[in-house]
Structures are given as structure tokens and as C-alpha cells.
Symmetry: C3
Subunit: 310 residues, 3 copies
């Protein structure tokens, strides 16, 4: 097992399966009246969020508190980042304070790898630029397993802005390792060149992706990118790539709908469909806490046996 | 008992009395060497503050920690609110993470009600727009009871910017339910139209309010509103509605002075008077923690009996 | 012993020695598998940071959590400071909430003293304007003791922007009390007038300071001050006052290198030298947590005996 969780590209199938199995067992803990275990008592985890985040940050903090860790959370505003300290110096200082784990979100691809090279603390990547967001992909896979059973042969189409999406990259790596089949779908301007090397189907028409898929993992269109004119207009995007109930009906197809959030309702996903029987979006959120508990637990030296934890 | 605490308009006299009685009993806990009870151990409370706050936020956090809850606090800056997520999606995500209670401050009237309609978690309103701020009114009433005994027949004049004040609205609802008599006093431009339906005296001269009242609850003039020209100038406001020792002497009247803070010293309240024998302003702050403990305790299913808690 | 820790100017030699001895004993606690003691269980500490800080804030929070205190942290953005509340009212409110200790960072010199005068809570100065930063100087002295033994007669040169440095002021007071010899070195525009009263050597050439010193405590050049033209240019500053390995070699001198961080690598200190065998910079960071535990412990009424704490 790797010491850190930097990305799913370098995480083995075995380790992914171990994390998911542990997460299912933590999910049971979370259903208890007091959903808390003393596993990480006395351990200190620093959450360094150099990019805005509500959900991921709360989810990690919750996972840490439910494992009884001591947590310190840091958002970029008001930090000495504004004094120009380098990420490396920040990291080495944190390490000198004997912090056990660092959960890092950063806008530069490779930030978590960089940190892992220069400090001894355990690093958990909570999203680095457009590179990877491994805990998101793990919770996606956990939720799919819960709904669909074994992922082998399951066809998952990732829809939208693949170019800028760390969620897409982590999902592609993880799903392939578990034997799922992955495709991507989006306007040409939002499909990266590297997609050719991924050796997966690329669709430019949403209906084709729906025909092909068992699962649609629909990415958020980042409205702030629209100014760079990668797609003509939001209305145009919604009409071509917005997933609607009518499209599903037309395809005579039952698919599972996923979304990493936050949703632009009415743009990439029809408002009503997000809350429909097809959607497992809220299960993703629930499972996020269990997956993060599993990652923190295993990386801090825990083992899978349930009796270790209670 | 209501599941949530959204406002005092919909809270019964009986429930208000129960909260106050419980708060007095928690006040005793707070005087112990270790002012902490294990009541909410394992419960998770998320404080969502979408408006700036020092005092209310610290007071809630303190109440939560003294009940041994796990707390996660969120201020608007740096959150995915900036990514345009709706309050509803934020709420549903929080709920999916199995959070027991949400303490919400929001600049839209009705935000807490809205949340309560769309999630199962218990919602505590920590101030919604110009609508209600129920825990502030509860701590005001607790502090008045402590100083003046039974509130029945006690005459409380609320002075200042009634138009924009959620504190005024919550106090009016709560005080009337406990049998106090309430009046409001302020320049015509700062008295809302709805005041006619409140069926309470309205004064436009401060001296008249002082003559009438046993208690002056003096609201903060929000300096940032001055640009909308609802009153001529701060100096003018202070000379007409600023409460001073001289005015009280002229009225030959002992009154109790309250203020929800933060005070603009020298504007709505004379600097010296804020710290005088008339003032119970710091008692309000002290009691705020006890009241919030009581609300969190009762809403999470606790009962009044002291033995339940120690 | 003083009730507060406001500055080292008013802290006795005896108290400084007691804090350092306690810090060494806490350093041993920090090397245990579970680096946590129940000493401050049930105590509440509020960290009020009205200036940006990463390291100092994390270091204090960590010290507090390792003593099992309940902590509430406040950064200036989003607080009612923006509503214009005075520091005094903030303080009195905090006191009314029965908070045991306040750790204060503020951009006004004297802020911590002011707070100590108006409230009963114990105040720990975490940096006030250009006045003092006592825990930084204490950790500097602890780290020097660790490396060099008794400080009596040790020659410490503080290099850089003395004018604006609270770190320099606290170090000068503390080091002199422990019998060390202190000098300062920097361009004339960055040496304050009050330096004459400090009765210590003042160097304007770095090579002279290096010749003289056993230890160089190198201050951060605050890049944001460059606009006020107190020194010609960063390049010029670096060439005259930047500490480099070549300069040390030329001086045929082994010196201990310290820096309070964050480092401008390549400006006041050569990149490579910061991580060299001369540097005790990371030890400073490590010891910061132990020193702050010692201060919090002693100020809250703890005694030196190790058996009290375990």
C-alpha cells in the first residue's frame, strides 16, 4: 500500500478494493447512534484548502472527527500564503510541527505529489488543479458498487468538461482498474488531447453516450470558464449536453445518474432529474464521509479487520 | 415542541418557558470548574454562517463545545457558495452527510424555514435577513427574567431601526407570549408598515418611550445603511434617539438598558451608560451561551430534568 | 509570575527560565505515540487573529489541542470587526462568555496590553504591531539552548528590518535577560531610533555582524514595505544583507542560522543555507508547539512538576 493517497493512477486495484471494503464497514459505523470511533485519537490532521470548497472540506472534517482525530483547518484567505511563502516551506513547517497527515487541496496539478516528496507526513490529495481528485473517484466507485454490484463490465460515460476535470481523470483511472468500461462525452473543445492515450470511446453527441452507457457521471460546467469561449453559450451547451428526462425516455434507457456537485441545475443536468429515481447523487455525498474515513484510517496504519476499530 | 427553532413567532409560550428554565439550569453548569457536559457527545453540528458574525458564532460554538458536540464551522468566504450552489443543494448535501443539526445565519429572510422544509436535520436559526433572530430574543428574555423576575406586565421599549431588525421582530413575538408589554420607538422612516398589525405602542420621541418603559432594548444603528438616507445624519440620529444618562435623569426614571451588540458607543447609546449600573448588556452575552446550550439540548431530544445531563 | 504573557520586556528572567524548562518537558510529551495530555480539559481558549497567519496560528491551535483545551479560532475576515466593533467591546464580550484565555494577534502595538487591562481572561500576545511577539522569542531561545547550551555570553546578531520587527524586540529583551549578548544589523533606514537606548552593538555591514556573532537570527524582509522605499531594491538588499554560504566561508566562521519564517529564499537568506547544517530553522518550528504548550499550561495555573501533567 502506498503511504500517501495522491491519485488513482498510481493506486493499485488491490488497494482500491481494500479502501472500498473498509469504507463499507465504516458506513455501518456511521449508522450507529454515536457514529464515532476512537481510532485516530491523538493524531493530528491539518486540512490545507488553498481553493474554495464547502462539501469536500466538510466531508473530510467530518470523517476526521468521527475517527476522533484532532483537526486544524486552513483556508487560503488570511494565511501566510499571502505573505508569499512557498508550498514547500509551508509543508516543511507543518512537518516540523509533527503533524501526522495533511489533506491538501491546491490549484496546481502536482501539488500533492510535490508535498509528498518534501515531507514525511502522510499526504491525502483533496484535489490538485486539473490533475486528480482521488477521494471523489473512490466515493463514486463505492456508490456505484452499492447500486450496481461488481463494476466489471459496467459502462460509465463521463459527460461534460473533461478538459478541466480532475474528477474525470481520477474516475477514468479508478474505474478501469476495477474492470469497468469508461467513455467520455463532450464538445470537442472540452476533450483534452491526452484522451487519445486513454484508449476509451469518445462521444461528441450526448445521445450516443446515453445509448452506450449504464451510468452517466455528469460533470459540472464551470460557469467562470465561459469567458474563454470554449463553448458557444450556456443555453447552447444545455441544449446539446444537458441531460434531461426526455432524452433518457427517447433513448428508452434506464441509466444511473451521478454528479460530483455542485450541480448547475438546468444546465448540465435537468433540475428534476437530479432528484429522481435515476439519481444516486446524494448517496455519493453520504459515502464520501465513509470513503474518507477509510482512507485516513488505512493510511494512518489501520488494518481492514473490523475488530481493530471498535 | 417544534423540531426546529426557526423563529419565536411559531414558538409557544410553553416552549419558550421550557427553554428559559433549561438555560438557567445550564447557567449553573457554566459556573462549575469544568463547565462541560457530555450531553451531545457524538452529535455533529454544522454552523453555516453566510453573513459576518463574531459574537453569535463564538457563542454558538462555545455552547456546542460545552455540550461535547463535534462542530464544523463554515463562513461564507471561500465556500462553494462562490461557485453558485443553491442553499437547497448545500443543505441536502449536509443532510446526506448525516449531520444532526445545522445552525444557519443567512442574509435572506426565510432561509431557515426553507432549509427546514427541504432537509431532515434539525435547523436552528441564527438570524435570517430582517426576519428573526430567535436565540437573541431568548437570551434577552432570560436576562430580563434574571434582573426583573416575571415578565408579565413588564414594559419593554425597543428603540431604533425597527425596520431592518430581526432582533426587534423576535423580541416582540417572544415578549408578548410571556405577557410583557412591548413598544417600539424610532424615526418614522425606520418603523415598518407591518408595525400597525403588531398592535403595540409606537413612539417617535425617545422621551415618550423612556417615560413609558421599564426596559429599553436599544438596537444598533447600522452605519452602512446611512447611505440610503433613512435618517438625516448620525449626529442628528444620536441627538434625537441616542440614549444618555442625562435623558434618564431628566425623566426621573430608572430603566434597564439592553443592547444586542455590537454597540456604536456615542451614537445609539452613550458610552458611559453602556457600562453603568442600568446596563445588563454583558449579562446578555453571558446568558447567550446558556440559552444556546438549552436550545441545542432540547432540540436534540433532551429533557428538562437536570439529572439527565450530569 | 505574570498573569498574562504580553511581552518579554516585562517578563522576569526567572519566569522565562521556568517557561523554557516546562517547554523542554512538553517536548518529551510530543515525542510520545499519543502526544496529548488532559491538562486543559474543559478550558476554553479563543484565538483571535486580526492579522493573517499560518504558522503561528497552527502552532497555537496544535498546542491547545495537545493540552486537550476546547478551542475557537477567529480570523479577521468575516468577523464583526467589519461592523466596527471596538477591540474593547470584542474583549468584554468574550470575557462575558467565560472564556479562560485569549490568544491575540493584532496589527496595533499595545493591543494585548489594552485587552489585559479591560478583561479578566488571561491574555497571550501572539504578535502586536511592531511591538512584541513573545512566544516567537521564547521558541528562539529554547532552540538556541538546545543547540548551544547555556545562553550566557552567546553572541546573537539580529539581521534585517529591525525597525518593523516585533520578533527583534522580543528577542532583544529575552536574550539580554538570559545573559546573551545581542547586536543588530541592517541598513540605517531599517534601524529604529530607539535602538540607541537598547545599548547594544549596531552593525551596518553584514560581514562585521558575522565576524562578531555566534548566531544569526535573520529577519524576513517584508516585500510589501518596499514601496515605501526604505531600501533601494530587493536585489540591492540581497547583495548587501543576504546571508550566503560564501559570506560565511569568507568569514571562516561557523554560525548558527535562525529565521522566524516565512523565508524569502534568495533574498535575506540563501536558499541552500536555509536547509544546511548551520540552520536550526525547522527546530524553531518544532519547539514553537512545546513553548506555546508551556505558556498556556503555566498561565492557566499549572506548575512545573511533570507529575502534575500526566
Amino acid at each position: 500500500m502506498n503511504k500517501h493517497l495522491l491519485g488513482l493512477e498510481e493506486t493499485s486495484e488491490e488497494e482500491i478494493r481494500q479502501i472500498l471494503a473498509t469504507a463499507f464497514s465504516f458506513k455501518e459505523v456511521l449508522s450507529r447512534p454515536i457514529p464515532k470511533v476512537p481510532t485516530l485519537r491523538g493524531k493530528t490532521i491539518v486540512n490545507l484548502f488553498f481553493e474554495p470548497s464547502t462539501r469536500t472540506r466538510i466531508s473530510f472534517e467530518l470523517a476526521e472527527k468521527r475517527l476522533s482525530a484532532d483537526t486544524i483547518t486552513f483556508s487560503s484567505s488570511g494565511s501566510s500564503v499571502s505573505k508569499g511563502e512557498t508550498l514547500r516551506d509551508t509543508a516543511r513547517n507543518i512537518e516540523a510541527m509533527k503533524i501526522d497527515m495533511v489533506v491538501l487541496r491546491h490549484n496546481s496539478a502536482g501539488a500533492a505529489h510535490f508535498l509528498a516528496r518534501c515531507v514525511d507526513s502522510i499526504i491525502i490529495n483533496a484535489g490538485d488543479g486539473q490533475h486528480e481528485h482521488p477521494t471523489q473517484a473512490l466515493l463514486d466507485m463505492m456508490t456505484l458498487q452499492e447500486r450496481a454490484g461488481d463494476l466489471r463490465g459496467l459502462k460509465v460515460a463521463i459527460i461534460g468538461d473533461i478538459l478541466h476535470s480532475r474528477v474525470a481523470r481520477s474516475n477514468i483511472h479508478g474505474l478501469k482498474k476495477l474492470g469497468a468500461r469508461v467513455a467520455i462525452c463532450g464538445p470537442k473543445t472540452l476533450i483534452p488531447r491526452e484522451a487519445e492515450q486513454w484508449d476509451i470511446p469518445v462521444f461528441h453527441r450526448l445521445d450516443d453516450a446515453i445509448q452506450w452507457a449504464d451510468v452517466l457521471n455528469i460533470l459540472r460546467i464551470q460557469l467562470e470558464r465561459q469567458k474563454t469561449a470554449l463553448f458557444p453559450s450556456l443555453r447552447e451547451y444545455a441544449s446539446q449536453f444537458g441531460v434531461t428526462r426526455q432524452r433518457l425516455l427517447r433513448a428508452k434507457k434506464d441509466v444511473i445518474i451521478m454528479h460530483p456537485g455542485p450541480i448547475n441545475r438546468g444546465i448540465e443536468l435537468e433540475n428534476d432529474l437530479a432528484d429522481s429515481e435515476f439519481s444516486i447523487i446524494l448517496d455519493q455525498v453520504t459515502n464520501g464521509v465513509a470513503v474518507r474515513m477509510a482512507v485516513l484510517y488505512l493510511k494512518s496504519g489501520g488494518r481492514l479487520e473490523a475488530e481493530q476499530r471498535s
